[in-house]
């Protein structure tokens, strides 16, 4: 679906460009790079999208229900209605992302046809395929996928994901799983950089990931795509925590619109993410925010969304 459009004709004055290539991996990953240091917010209406943009979100995730409600309502969670996504696209000028079910490439095709800026192949929705993820190389629109460990992250990258997010546990307002997954991924990367060439093959086998990608991570000391954090961020200090642990940006789902004052909470999380290492600023924006989302104990959950995906 990537195409090449060759320009023709034009006035002979300033130097000008050659053939344009769209849908390349550089272009896909490039948008993820531009989102770094920012906050991507879940929104379910055009009004919420506008509030998110006003608060300084770098992008919005358009969906029908936030994860906390998906969890509470039960049933099958699917891709959002295109008219809802289009309403949000018209309401804001920042990038609009949307979710497809794991393995549901036809939903992804619809989202590509709508020209969403990023597709999240997400465990928050009910999986459509219990063995296969979407072949993301077949698309011109970039994909973000969740991961709980380094092997999962590298498998998603090998399938074409241009951005990885640690999964955490969506809809809980509880940061503990996000921290677990970030530490697992980044800790393994640190360990992998110490491996010699023979040990890299063993790592590849144990991670169930391609050895070329394992070698690339071992040499660079980082994933070949940006890594953001999702699943459980509810306060400015949560954002500062995961950014200091090594996340490059944050996704906030239920944490904003399930809080007492969504506008102020959204803005406070944006400022805390930008100034994550400055505790004075995090303290300032945290003051008098009102109640955060109530939150759930992970041990008491009926089902863990992070277990979805393979």
């Amino acid at each position: 679906m990537a195409d090449v459009s060759t320009p023709a004709g034009g006035a002979p004055d300033a130097p000008r460009g050659g053939a344009r290539r769209t849908g390349t991996f550089t272009v896909k990953r490039g948008l993820a790079d531009m989102l770094r240091g920012g906050v991507i917010m879940d929104v379910v209406t055009a009004e919420q999208a506008t509030l998110a943009e006003d608060a300084g979100a770098v992008a919005v995730m358009a969906l029908e229900r936030v994860p906390a409600d998906i969890r509470a309502d039960g049933g099958v969670a699917r891709m959002s209605d295109p008219s809802l996504i289009e309403g949000i696209q018209h309401a804001v000028t920042i990038p609009v992302m949307a979710k497809a079910r794991i393995g549901h490439f036809a939903e992804a095709q619809v989202l590509e046809a709508l020209e969403v800026d990023y597709i999240d192949e997400s465990e928050v929705l009910t999986p459509a395929d219990e063995a296969h993820h979407i072949d993301k190389w077949a698309f011109a629109v970039p994909f973000v996928c969740g991961a709980t460990n380094l092997g999962e992250a590298l498998r998603r990258i090998s399938e074409g994901a241009a951005l990885v997010r640690s999964k955490g546990e969506a809809g809980t307002g509880n940061i503990v799983e996000a921290v677990r997954h970030l530490r697992a991924i980044l800790g393994d990367i640190r360990a992998l950089t110490q491996a010699d060439e023979a040990e890299r093959y063993r790592w590849a086998k144990e991670l169930a990931a391609p050895v070329d990608l394992v070698r690339e991570v071992a040499e660079a000391g980082r994933l070949p795509v940006p890594m953001f954090c999702a699943g459980g961020i509810a306060t400015p200090a949560d954002a500062a925590l995961v950014m200091q642990l090594g996340a490059e940006a944050v996704f906030v789902g239920s944490g904003i619109f399930k809080s007492q004052d969504p506008g102020r909470t959204a803005r406070a999380i944006v400022e805390a993410t930008a100034h994550f290492a400055d505790a004075q600023i995090v303290a300032k924006v945290s003051r008098g925010l009102g109640a955060a989302m109530p939150g759930l104990e992970v041990g008491a959950l009926h089902e863990r969304l992070a277990d979805r995906g393979w």
Partner: protein
């Protein structure tokens, strides 16, 4: 020489790496105090609405305006170009820009991410062949003032022609993508995303020329 890189949001580390490759020191700029001794400032790629808001909340908006209007060399890429431009179309009503290069830009003028692209560009004043350019939801220059030097421009594609009625640009006109006016250099694309350091070198030379 030390170059400040506005570090509120966006691809700050790519710019810092580019200057490090050239042996030039950089410093992240997050507070007014960070602006003190820098010899030039980079406004990186990212979301211009977010950066604009964080410039205000970090109390950097006016201090940065002051150093820019006193002639501090500035390099803006993509969102940075929007922030340095004189006029924004299709922006948010509350969006601020510094107006130190006489350009009118349309945010996301090439379309959504599906329309983002890479291509080779011939750039005036650079030897060594075309510069590879990556455009991500790039701003479109719809008007450049008489004092703006256009260093590279792009021929339209069929996609752009659909945009013609909205921007008023005639269908087959080449649009500027790399521009300079005095100490200000802006690109609609992201030279920091490729390994080619010629445009970062161009900015370093602009600073050296000014200090000479």
């Amino acid at each position: 020489m030390e170059i400040g890189v506005l570090a509120l949001q966006g691809d700050v580390s790519e710019h810092r790496r580019a200057f490090a490759d050239l042996g030039v020191q950089t410093r992240p700029v997050r507070t007014p105090g960070d602006l003190g001794a820098v010899d030039g400032i980079v406004l990186p790629g990212g979301e211009s609405t977010t950066m604009s808001l964080l410039l205000a909340s970090s109390e950097l908006m006016e201090p940065l305006r002051k150093v820019l209007s006193s002639g501090l060399p500035a390099f803006g890429t993509c969102a940075g170009m929007i922030l340095l431009a004189a006029r924004i179309t299709d922006g948010r009503p509350d969006q601020r820009c510094y107006g130190i290069i006489d350009l009118t830009v349309q945010r996301n003028g090439y379309g959504r991410q599906r329309r983002s692209f890479e291509c080779d560009l011939d750039v005036l004043g650079t030897g060594g062949g075309p510069v590879h350019a990556v455009f991500i939801r790039a701003p479109l220059v719809v008007e450049a003032g008489p004092d703006v030097e256009v260093l590279a421009s792009l021929l339209p594609s069929p996609d752009d022609e659909k945009r013609a009625p909205a921007t008023g640009i005639p269908a087959m006109t080449a649009v500027p993508v790399l521009c300079r006016q005095g100490p200000v250099l802006v690109s609609a694309f992201h030279p920091e995303l490729t390994g080619d350091r010629r445009l970062h070198q161009m900015f370093v030379s602009m600073i050296e020329d000014r200090e000479r």
